[in-house]
Amino acid sequence: MLFVDKHRPKTLESLTYHHELSSRLKALANGDFPHLLVYGPSGAGKKTRIIATLKELYGPGVEKIKIDSRVFTTTSNRKLEFNIVASVYHLEITPSDVGNYDRVVIQDLLKEVAQTQQVDLAAKQRFKVVVINEADHLSRDAQAALRRTMEKYSPNLRLILLANSTANIIAPIRSRTLLVRVAAPTADDIVDVLKGVGKLERLEVKDGLCKRIATESGRNLRRALLMFEAVYAQNEVVKDNTPLPPPDWEALISQIADDIMAEHSPQRILYVRAKLYDLLTHCIPPTIILKTLTFKLIPKIDDALKADVIKWSAFYEHRLHLGNKPIFHLEAFVAKFLRLLESFLMDVDYDF
């Protein structure tokens, strides 16, 4: 098993950073447990923290999890297959798996869970916990469906919403939950974790390498651990300056950035489009593509342009969320960038 999952901390006590948060969660688990909205960047340890909290709530029983497959029927008679990860005490769902039909799942499933009381009298808590992953990808309808349920069934049900940001979560939900922010670990935190893992695995840990991984990973602990493992898996001898291979998609994006810089013409946009399509089809989220591309381009251009490029990047990132077809907006960004760059190089004022 990979290091990330092998050495995942199981209890609140064994978490190595954000100690204050850990103790607060512990206090909540032992007192009156509210609905939670846990948010923070990916790889910060949200889920790990939640599992540890659940363990604090119910004891080791929550670790006995299984995957259950349920079939829901939509109003249009479509059958939806939906996976639920469940223990006796809690269940964990990812409604965004079913796209636009998430409302159906939320309505049916939550009601079902909420309407039955805890059977096990020996259980520590009277309520069950439902963990909703990717809560920020819930459609408006699904979020609306949550509102009343959260109040009405609170004796039987507690919700823990996991999200990357609270931006997409409607205000009524936010007001009904306790917001818990799990910040990304600092570089030092990551280095500590890496060293700890190295020690457990009896690896020769290089200080410099760990620091490089920590910065390269963008403070994403999961990514850092996977990079750490990749380095050790691919190299016999690991040194401080061992190259860190970027993930495939990131390599392709830097290639795109090079392509864009190499030639400024409509044909080049066409050429880049093919690669963008490639990334999209291989399930790289468009926002990640746009963000990564922007940050790959920024070092290559003149300072005077940077502000504008960032501005347009943000502009089209917003559109990615509003629109239907991400490729249109990605391409528009590339076109805009090329135009900006070309008019800058030719010293022509570009009037916005």
Binding site: K64, I269, R319
Partner: protein, 1033 residues
């Protein structure tokens, strides 16, 4: 040569001037006439003109001398011609011919003027052959001139004592001419008048000019090709033929027309590029060129007199400056001109634009056609009087029109009884009838187009009883003898039903018709037709035998109209119909629009297929004119043609249009007919490719385009789901028109700017699209979407399309691929779910690359050795072999699927090892549960159970899994792959459980043992396991 001819005619002309024509103003017209000649020859028209003006009146002597000289020269030339024939200038004789023809056409008047004759010699030759000079040595040119002179001269002299060949020609000509004359064509009349004193023979050749041009050409060519020795013998004859021709053609234009024609600026067509025979025709190059840049300039298109181009034939080549080809063609047609695709001898003008086709230019040069540019065309239109004035061409056209009119009147007269009789039978007031019924054809003669098909239909029906006796064994001449039924198919309104009815009537059959208004399900067909199919006509049926019934009355034909309309309610109708066609005892005529429909498959090899095509405009015209005449409508043939074009030769629609029009008006102009045709136009839905093509490479956005924004939006609506995607896929490919004025770096910047604007607009469009297809469903915003997503981007980027193909939108393919891979990721994530907490994006972004490296790449690098470690890792994460393949496919960029090259040995070793071992599964998919009947469904339950247990002592599991694998090896696995896997799972977990709960493990082992015996026992064996699992939950 013209002067020679003139000399020939001179006495006559002098004696009896053309009565119709005004007395020729001596000096000026002559000049004009000459000018015209020059302009015809596409030379520097203006310069020679002044020279000619002052030219003194000729001395007859000089004239006479010339021919003699010429004669000798001619022979010399003739010899040379022979020799050089194969050379590049081979076309000498045709050249000659053309020149004469054209000139003649234009100078009708001048020819008859005495004073003209003299100065012709030099001036004309200079001007006429100036062009030839360019290409040929002057000497040669001279010779040619000479020989023409000779021709003319000869003509004059020998007119009556021509040789045999000539006589033959004459006879032919006469034949041809007599008829038109009899009908009194006005144009011809004038010609005849000119030569009143001449014997018929003389007049005939003149009249012949128009008609017999081609045969003559043939003659000449034939002669040319004769071997040398013979040539001399026939020399005289040869000489004469061209002579004759010239004489014939010599019809001069009236002064006014000459004025006009001479004022039309001509252009010299560019010399055609040398043709390289070895070079293959490059379609892409051609296409690239064909995608002409839209016209850039704008000019006011003049308004001319009605029908002013009558009788003139135009050919367009190249791109005009300010008018598109289509518009130009329409313009010419509007004024009664004719437009043909390729230049020929009959072409009056070639309108040459930039990048004219080399082939056409060659022809122009060969035939010495008059070429003008668009200004010339406009000048013609604005200056020529109505109906082409009294120009020869116009007169010819007028004559033809008159003839046609006469014919129409005749037909109309003939038609009278038919129309009155038919309604009389049914005792109907003809006024209450639809025109389509009123004027439906009642005889073969009246059918418009598809004559052959109707004939074969008739023949089939005729032979039907005969074939029935032979039990349809003999195919007959046209193969129709094998079929009991006929299937007529073709577009609507071409007369399929009419033809069927008419033929039935003509052959004396009673018609039993069934169409889409009747229900025709299998059952109904069966019951209603059963009685009919082997019956005779009712009239015959009830005849008790005393009276001999008219044999025709015993016959009955079944017409199944609109067979492709059998649908919905007519369940099984088509199949039943086909079955009926196979065994019917009476003839069956089926009619449908589209034979190739899948639905019509049952009729294959059952019916004799007759395809009706759309009749041509010419086929329809007479009939329509007849109807108009009978109804007292006044429509020009052009108007009819435009109606025909507008309705795509739908006769019924045209008649309906006429009928509608007849209510309100009596006279329809070309414009009205055009408007009407467009108003009635059947809506044709464009294909996505056509939409993109029209928008991106068309002339849609040229400054002089007349398309409105609505027209462009309309294009989007032709296929609103595809059009914008097609634009999105292709908008970067054209070379934008808007950047065409820039060059170098500026051009590139401009192009980028346009691309950026277009891309931004497309991006805007997507936001609108989200509003339309989002939860709010703002469908009313479709036009906005059309503008943002389709029209605006094309407006920026439209331009010539550099040889590339319009691509179909890649979006669909990419989207479905994305969905497929997305499914893979979800699958992988759900398998890994018990081990890692990452969501599917995280799994894709961080886990997949590392798996790719640690599984796929490793297998590639290390081969067999890596297999064990790989399987272990996969089992840790519950990954299946399918997931492994999915991971390979999910790699992108450097981890591309194609960059992976796993040795086959390693691959098969891995597959073998994987299949040999059993693997833990986190759960069974709900959908999978149903697949294997019963037993598998029960089996997956314990797996869930075990999954829980596994987690209980997760750490142990790692060790145990290995044990499990080992243990599995000695188990005899059942043949079924699926069963094997499920069982293996049970096993794999069993030991793990064993550690956790001894008792349970024992149960499980029992179960497993139960399984092994194979077969039915399994299902039962698992059932208890399930039972155990439940309560624990």
């Amino acid at each position: 040569m013209p002067q020679d001819i003139r000399s020939f005619f001179a006495p006559k002309g002098g004696a009896a001037p053309a009565p119709k024509k005004p007395a020729p103003p001596p000096a000026k017209p002559a000049k004009r006439g000459r000018k015209v000649v020059e302009s015809d020859e596409e030379e520097e028209e203006v310069k020679p003109a002044p020279v000619k003006k002052p030219a003194p009146k000729p001395t007859p002597k000089a004239k006479k001398e010339e021919p003699i000289e010429d004669a000798s020269a001619y022979f010399a030339a003739a010899g040379k011609n022979k020799i050089t024939r194969t050379g590049p200038v081979r076309a000498a004789p045709p050249v000659k011919k053309n020149i004469t023809m054209k000139k003649l056409n234009l100078e009708d008047d001048a020819k008859y003027l005495d004073d003209d004759d003299e100065d012709y010699g030099d001036d004309i030759f200079k001007s006429e052959y100036g062009k030839a000079v360019e290409d040929e040595p002057a000497r040669k040119k001279k010779k040619k001139d000479d020989d023409m002179d000779l021709d003319d001269y000869k003509d004059g002299d020998e007119d009556d004592d021509d040789e045999d060949e000539d006589m033959d020609d004459f006879v032919d000509d006469n034949d041809e001419d007599v008829k038109p004359k009899g009908r009194g064509r006005p144009a011809k009349a004038s010609v005849v008048k000119v030569t009143p004193k001449k014997p018929a023979a003389a007049a005939a050749p003149k009249g012949r000019k128009r008609k017999s041009i081609t045969p003559e050409d043939d003659d000449e060519e034939e002669e040319d090709e004769q071997p040398k020795p013979k040539r001399k013998a026939t020399a005289a004859a040869k000489r004469k033929t061209p002579v004759k021709r010239k004489e014939v053609e010599e019809i001069e234009e009236s002064e006014s027309i000459k004025d006009i024609l001479s004022s039309v600026p001509t252009v010299r067509p560019p010399t055609p590029p040398p043709r390289d025979e070895t070079k293959k025709f490059n379609y892409h190059a051609y296409k690239a060129k064909a995608a002409a840049p839209p016209p850039t300039g704008t000019k006011d298109i003049p308004v001319g007199a009605e029908n002013c181009l009558a009788g003139l034939t135009f050919v367009f080549t190249g791109n005009q400056q300010s008018i598109t080809r289509d518009d130009a063609i329409e313009l010419v047609k509007r004024y009664g001109g004719k437009v043909t695709g390729n230049p020929s001898r009959k072409t009056s003008y070639v309108v040459v634009g930039s990048e004219a086709g080399p082939k056409k230019l060659e022809t122009i040069r060969e035939l010495k056609l008059k070429s003008i540019d668009e200004d010339g065309l406009f000048a013609l239109i604005s200056k020529l009087p109505a109906h082409g004035g009294d120009s020869t061409a116009a007169q010819a056209a007028a004559k033809k029109a008159k003839e046609e009119e006469k014919k129409i009147q005749e037909i109309a007269r003939e038609m009278k009884p038919n129309t009155t009789v038919a309604p009389g039978k049914e005792a109907k007031d003809p006024k209450s009838q639809l025109w389509t019924v009123k004027y439906s054809p009642s005889s073969m003669k009246e059918i418009c187009g598809n004559k052959k098909q109707v004939e074969s239909l008739q023949k089939w029906l005729q032979n039907w009883p005969k074939n029935l006796k032979k039990n349809f064994k003999l195919p007959g001449v046209d193969g129709s003898g094998l079929y009991r039924a006929v299937m007529i198919h073709g577009p609507p309104g071409v007369g399929k039903t009419t033809a069927a009815h008419m033929v039935a009537k003509m052959e004396g059959y009673d018609v039993l018709e069934s169409n889409a208004s009747d229900t025709r399900s299998k059952k109904l067909l069966d019951t209603s037709l059963k009685g009919v199919l082997d019956n005779t006509s009712l009239m015959g049926y009830f005849n008790t035998g005393d009276k001999k019934v008219d044999p025709s009355k015993q016959k009955i034909v079944l017409i199944m109209d609109e067979v492709d309309g059998m649908s919905g309610g007519d369940r099984g109708g088509v199949g039943q119909m086909a079955a009926i066609c196979r065994k019917t005892q009476i003839p069956v005529i089926c009619i449908c629009n589209d034979r190739r429909l899948q639905k019509m498959k049952p009729f294959d090899h059952v019916t004799y297929d007759l395809a009706f095509r759309r009749p041509s405009a010419a086929e329809i015209r007479t009939r329509m004119m007849t109807i108009c005449y009978r109804e007292g409508l006044k429509l020009s043939p052009q108007a009819i043609d435009s109606l025909t074009e507008g309705s795509h030769s739908d006769i019924r629609q045209i008649i309906n249009m006429l009928s509608t029009f007849g209510v309100s008006g009596k006279e329809m102009s070309f414009d009205e007919s055009r408007n009407m045709a467009t108003a009635w136009q059947k809506h044709v839905v464009l294909k996505p490719w056509d939409i993109a093509q029209q928008l991106l490479q068309g002339h849609m956005f040229a400054p002089n385009s007349k398309k409105t924004l609505n027209d462009k939006i309309e294009l989007y609506f032709n296929d609103h789901e595809f059009s914008y995607l097609m634009i999105q896929d292709n908008y970067l490919k054209p070379h934008p028109q808007r950047a065409s004025n820039y060059s170098g770096a500026e051009k590139r910047l401009k192009e980028l700017e346009l691309a950026d604007k277009a891309a931004e607009s497309i991006s805007d469009g997507d936001l609108v699209d989200a509003m339309i297809h989002g939860p709010q469903q703002h469908w009313s915003m479709m036009p906005v979407h059309a503008v943002f997503s389709t029209v605006a981007p094309s407006s920026f980027m439209s331009g010539s399309y550099g040889g590339g193909h319009m691509q179909f939108s890649a979006w669909f393919g990419q989207n479905s691929k994305q969905q497929k891979l997305n499914r893979y990721v979800k699958e992988i994530q759900s398998h890994m779910r018990l081990r890692c907490s990452a969501d599917r994006h995280e799994v894709r972004q961080f886990y997949v690359p590392i798996f790719w490296q640690m599984l796929c790449r490793r297998l590639e690098r290390e081969g067999k050795e890596a297999v064990d470690d790989m399987i272990e890792l996969m089992d840790d994460y519950f990954l299946t072999k399918e997931d492994y393949d999915a991971i390979i496919e999910l790699g992108v960029g450097p981890l591309n699927e194609k960059s992976l090259n796993v040795p086959t040995a390693a691959k098969s070793a891995f597959t073998r090892a994987y299949n040999a071992a059993s693997h833990p599964m986190p759960f069974m998919k709900a959908s999978n549960v149903i697949v294997p009947k019963g037993k598998a469904a029960k089996k997956d339950q314990p797996d869930l159970e075990e999954a829980i247990e596994e987690d209980e002592d997760e750490m142990e599991m790692v060790d145990e899994a290995e044990d499990a694998v080992e243990e599995d090896d000695d188990v005899d696995l059942s043949k079924d792959k699926y069963v094997k896997q499920a069982k293996a799972k049970g096993k794999g977990k069993a030991p793990a459980k064993g550690k956790a709960k001894g008792k349970k493990a024992a149960d499980e082992d029992e179960d497993d043992e139960d399984d092994e015996p194979v077969g039915k026992g399994k299902g039962k064996g698992k059932a208890p396991a399930k039972g155990k699992g439940r309560p624990k939950k």
